[in-house]
Each structure stands twice: as C-alpha cells, then as structure tokens.
C-alpha cells in the first residue's frame, strides 16, 4: 500500500508556476499537482490547448522541468518519442508525460494516443477534460456532454446545445488493454494524486482522465471549481474508476446521487436546460451506472 499523498506531505516545490491561466482554472491545478508528484525528472509534452498557450510565452516559461509543445494531434507520438530518445540515450528514472485537453485527446489526438498505448510506450498520458475546446473560445468537442451550450453548439428553439454524449475515453483506452488507466476529478484531489503516484511505477502506458472545470467556459464563479468538480462526481455525471490488470474498478460508488439539477443550474453553459433535458441526463447517468456497477464491481 503506497503512502497517502495529502496537502500535508505534498512538496512545496512548484514545477508549473507563473503561467497565465484564468483564475479558478481546474486544468492548471491538475497539471500543477501532477508535476509536484512526478518531480523534476519529468519531460512534459503538451499539444495546442490552454496549458501550452499559457505557459510557453517567450521569454516566460512556466515549466521548471523540460517541456515541449507538440503538434495538436501528436501528444502521444511526441511523448513516446521523448521516452524512446531517453531510453536510447540511457537516461533513466525519468517520466515522459503528456498533458492534453479533451479535444486534444478524444478528437484530434486519439490516433496518436492509440498508437502509443498499442506499443506500450513508457508514458503517462493526462487528459485534462474541461469538456470543450476552451483555448479557441469554447467550442464543442467529443467530450462535451449532452445539453452543453458552446459557441458551436448553440442552445435555441431547435437545439438543446450539444446533442451528443461524452465519448467514452476511459473505456476506449481500456479496450487497448492498457497497463493502467484511471478517471479522476479536481474535486477529489487525494484520489487524483494517488492515481498519479500509482502511474509512476506502472510498466507501460498509463492514462489518467481528470475532469477539470473551466470557469470561463462553464460560466461559473472561479471559487467553486473544486466544489463543482466534486459535485460532478457526487451527482453521478462523472465517476472515479481505475483499470489495471485487465479489470475495472469503481473507486467511489455513492449510495445516493445528489440532484443533477443542482449541478447544472450552477453553470451558465447549462442554464437553458429544461426539466426534460435534465431527466435525459439522469437517464443517461443511470444507464451508465447500472452497467458500471454490474460489470466493474465484482
């Protein structure tokens, strides 16, 4: 059993610092904490997205470790190349990690990620999921939930916002028989940090998918990022799980969900949702949980 990482024993060293992300940004918190756990021998690969846009602006570099911006589609491939290069040079005890957004992972970067997992490359891949293309100004991605108002999925008389559901990245990744995969939320940071710590010792590819609210894109006050990310899990629209040794495991299985309505009503992106829309979200949620509880909790 690995020792629990808490606010008390977490290092005060900052390896991702001085970036220009918005106040209350969940994604930058996820990157910052991951870097604290991964440490100074980390090589970070970031594709186009908020995190690369706010942290490599010449001459101000926010990563204290080695870091590289990759082509948008190439997080998995560049991180794999970094790992291969380091291995070939005999540079040991390092981590090659990718930090991509939801679009960078589930849409444009899916192919390169699939290739890396297929090869079993020694990388840790983070999907920082804020549920839309935020860097370009809040456009719908493959991980945008049903009913989300974005600048390319408007809500109006004819459409409820986004009409598709979140692409099931966690299970897509697991279907590759990846060495380790996990979902997480910036609302449950100890769980997240434990998963990052676990990924450090995995032989092969790891994937951590963390839900990270974006106050700018979600239309929420910056001070509720953490509580909102917690509520996303508590109301059942997101879940904490792991896949290792070929088995799924739910890390948190709430006896009762908090109301979905409470979660969505706090957010500008969902303000327009009708009771029917919310019922639709609940139906989707219940279907998902039925399956997870049936198949994963043995």
């Amino acid at each position: 059993m690995m020792p629990k990482i808490t606010a008390k024993n977490l290092t005060n060293d900052e390896l991702f610092y001085g970036h220009k992300a918005c106040g209350g940004c969940g994604e930058s918190l996820a990157v910052r904490l991951a870097m604290k756990i991964l440490g100074e021998r980390t090589f970070a690969s970031l594709p186009a997205g908020c995190m690369s846009a706010v942290s490599f602006i010449y001459p101000n570099m926010a990563f204290k470790t080695n870091a590289i911006i990759t082509p948008f589609a190439s997080t998995g491939a560049v991180a794999a190349g970094v790992a291969a290069g380091l291995k070939a040079l005999g540079i040991e005890n390092t981590y090659s990690v990718g930090f991509a957004g939801d679009g960078g992972t589930a849409d444009i970067g899916l192919q390169a990620l699939s290739g890396a997992i297929d090869r079993g490359d020694q990388i840790i891949y983070f999907c920082n999921d804020n549920e839309a293309y935020m860097n370009t100004g809040i456009q719908k991605s493959g991980l945008t939930p049903y009913g989300t108002r974005t600048t390319t999925s408007p809500a109006g008389e004819n459409l409820p916002g986004s009409v598709t559901t979140k692409k099931n990245m966690f299970e897509i990744v697991a279907a590759h028989d990846i060495a380790y995969a996990a979902t997480a939320s910036v609302g449950y940071l100890e769980d997240y940090m434990m998963k990052v710590e676990k990924a450090k010792s995995v032989k092969g590819t790891s994937y951590i998918h963390i839900l990270a609210p974006c106050p700018t894109g979600w239309g929420t006050p910056s001070e509720i990022t953490i509580s909102l990310a917690k509520e996303a899990v508590d109301c059942g629209l997101w879940y904490l799980a792991e896949y290792e040794n070929g088995e799924f495991k739910l890390n948190k299985d709430p006896k009762a969900f908090t109301p979905v309505a409470d979660y969505v009503k706090k957010q500008g992106r969902f303000k327009h949702l009708t009771e029917t829309d919310i019922e639709h979200l609940e139906t989707q949620r219940d279907k998902k949980w039925l399956k997870m509880r049936r198949d994963w909790n043995k």
């Binding site: 794999a80 190349g81 192919q111 390169a112």
Partner: protein
C-alpha cells in the same frame, strides 16, 4: 569496404545503419517501404542498435522523431508523397525548433489521379518548410547522403532537419553496385550526437517549441533563414571532408558538367541527371557547346553558385518533374529568380516531364538540348515545354 548489388532503398537503409540513429519511427508507403523493412531487419538481427517504433501514421512518424530529437537523440524516418503531405504540419514545427532529424523521401506523384510512380510534386510542396532538401542521382549518392545529412544537420551552425530525396522507383527500386563503407570509418566521421545545449536535458531543463508572438516571432524566423542560407558553406565543407575520408565527392550544392564554355546549359535534379550526362557526351562529340548542371540542393538554394556557372550561357533550360498549377515548374521559378538577381539575361526554358512516372528518355533530353540550341541561335521558342506527352491537349 563491401561492394553490394542493391536498390536505392537498400542503399538508404545501409546508410542509415552506418549513421547509427537512436530511434527509427517507421510507417510504410510505396515506394519507400523497403527502407523501413530493411531497417526492421537490421534492428532484428542486431546490426543496428536502434529503437524501432511502429508508429500509426506519417504524422506520428515525424512527431515521434521530434520527441526523439528533442532530448538530443538521433532520429530517422522515411516517407513519400501523400505521407509527406500528411505529416506536412510537423515539418515547419521541427525546423522551427531546429531539430536535426533526417528523413528520406521517395519522390512520388500526388493524388488525384492516384499514382504511385515518381515525380517531384511532393517535396516541392514542402519547399517552404524550413528543411534542407537534397536530390540524389543514384544509389551510391543515396547511401553517402545518409551519412553526410546527419553531419550537416547536426552541425551547431546548422541545426536544421534534412530531407534526402530519391526519385520513386527509378532510384528507389533500381539495383546498382554500391560501395558500403566500413562502420569504423563512419563512426570516426560521424561521432555520436551530443546536443544538450540546444535540446532538453536533466542538467539544464528547457521548454521547446515555444510560443513567440508578434513581438518576437519575426526575429526567430529571420535567424532561421539566415542560418539556413549560411549552411551552404557547411554543405560544401562536409562534402569536402567526406571526400577525404571516403573518396567520393558530390561537389556540394551543385555539380557543373562541361559548363566552362557552354552556350546552353540544362539544369536537372535527381535521376534525370544520369541520362543527361550521356547526351552531354554525345552532343559534345558532335561539337555542340552544351553543359549540364546537376542541382543537388533546392534548400538552401545555391543562387551564387548557379550564377557563377550560368554567367556566359545564352540559353538555360530547367527540368521540372512538377507543376505549380497556374504558373510553371517550381525549380524554374527558383532558377529564374537567381538569374534575375545575378543580372544575367540568358533565354530561359522550362521542360516539364516525368509526371506520374512518365519516362524521361534520352530522346527527350536530346529534344531539350535541341530546343536550347535553337533558342540560343536566336529562334523563338516556347517558354514551357511538356515532354513525352501522348497527345495534344
């Protein structure tokens, strides 16, 4: 030294083996495929100690090579045609980050119409990508350029990715006797890459492929251009040092053949040069003052070297296996600019040929020289000639 009867693709693989890259990122595409097949054999039999990455696309082939190069390791990849264009966005990425990646490109037509045979539409498309581009004439030059290319690309004064172009099929699949140098000689000539200063390292962590807005971007680009231009000197230097060690030289940026007193000069790249050498001999024997320039590098473009050779020519012809639609052959445009900048006033003609693998015959080369001789004699002559065309269009 071993003498082997091998194809152009095999020669590339032999050259890559001798250059000892740390990582090969491989994706198959006709007519390049034999290169990545051979390299996988070499990795399997242990004669090449490299990590062989089966990437899932050309886009990832170059992206992975960028990852490898970013930590200061030596990377190789190879592609062709649609594959080159699929990885296109990564080319300026790698050159802007000054990564000395070497890539072999089997020159092949672009769809549509779909065609797997050789022309130069693909690499011309990427002329502005910030990569050094060399075009080789035969299998021996292909092998030798795999060694020279790393030497040039990794020079601290250059630090620029390098594309070695072979005509699809005509070079990639033609068998020739090739001298394969001893590994010890190559090792001494091309020591292991050490790039910690410019690349990511644990000793001095860095951010790479950074953002530079309108306040700094232009200076990065100007520096890149100036250093690419300055690489002409290093290209000549490496060709000379290579000749000392291996006994073969390629005359740097271009080779001038029988140009000293030539009244008409034909400019070729790649395999057409070999055919043209024979016609030069034939026409010289007949008393025609004809010359040939084998243009080896298109980037950096050898403006000065070209002007020096062309200074007394009355008519200049440029062979292009490509068309920039709505204009003319791309090499023609580049040569014309060099001629104009140098204050020369020869008559200029563009011979567009070999598209989609159409043969470029000895007779076609004779037709080119005849047109140039007639133009030099004062006859009016078409600016653009399409060679070996089936019918009037």
């Amino acid at each position: 030294m071993a003498r082997k009867f091998i194809s152009g693709n095999d020669a590339v693989a032999e050259g890559v083996r001798l250059a000892r890259p740390h990582v090969i990122s491989a994706y198959p595409i006709t007519p390049q495929t034999i290169v990545v097949e051979r390299l996988s054999d070499f990795c399997e039999d242990g004669s090449l100690k490299a990590i062989y990455m089966h990437v899932e696309s050309e886009h990832s082939a170059l992206a992975a090579a960028m990852g490898v190069s970013s930590v200061g390791a030596r990377a190789f990849t190879a592609t062709s045609s649609q594959g080159l264009l699929y990885m296109a966005e990564n080319l300026p990425y790698a050159s802007g980050a000054r990564m000395p990646i070497v890539m072999m490109n089997a020159n092949r037509a672009l769809a549509t119409p779909w065609n797997i045979y050789g022309d130069q539409m693909d690499s011309m498309f990427l002329l502005n990508a910030g990569w050094i581009q060399v075009y080789v004439e035969d299998a021996q030059e292909a092998l030798d350029m795999m060694i020279q290319s790393y030497k040039i690309a990794e020079d601290p004064r250059v630090m620029t990715p390098f594309m070695v172009n072979l005509d699809g099929f005509v070079l990639t699949h033609t068998y020739e006797v090739v001298d394969v140098p001893e590994q010890e000689l190559v090792d001494a000539y091309l020591p292991p890459l050490k790039l910690a200063e410019n690349m990511m390292s644990l000793e001095a962590p860095k951010s790479l492929c950074i953002t530079a807005g309108n306040n700094f971007n232009m200076e990065f680009k100007i520096k890149q251009n100036e250093e690419m231009n300055a690489s002409t000197a290093i290209i000549a230097e490496v060709d000379a040092s290579f000749a000392e060690v291996f006994g073969r030289k390629y005359h740097g940026l271009l080779e001038a053949i029988a140009c000293d007193d030539a009244e008409v000069i034909l400019i070729t790249t790649g395999s057409v040069t070999g055919t043209s050498r024979m016609i030069i001999e034939e026409y010289r024997n007949k008393g025609h003052k004809v010359g040939l320039i084998k243009l080896r590098y298109l980037r950096p473009f050898p403006t000065e070297a070209l002007a020096k050779v062309l200074k007394d020519a009355k008519a200049v012809g440029v062979v292009d296996k490509n068309i920039s639609f709505g204009y003319e052959g791309t090499i023609f445009t580049n040569v014309n600019s060099a001629i104009l900048q140098s204050g020369l006033t020869p008559k200029v003609h563009n011979f567009i040929c070999g598209l989609g693998g159409r043969d470029v015959t000895k007779e076609n080369i004779r037709e080119m020289f005849d047109a140039l001789l007639s133009s030099a004699a004062g006859d009016s002559c078409e600016k653009i000639h399409y060679m070996n065309v089936r019918c009037a269009l």
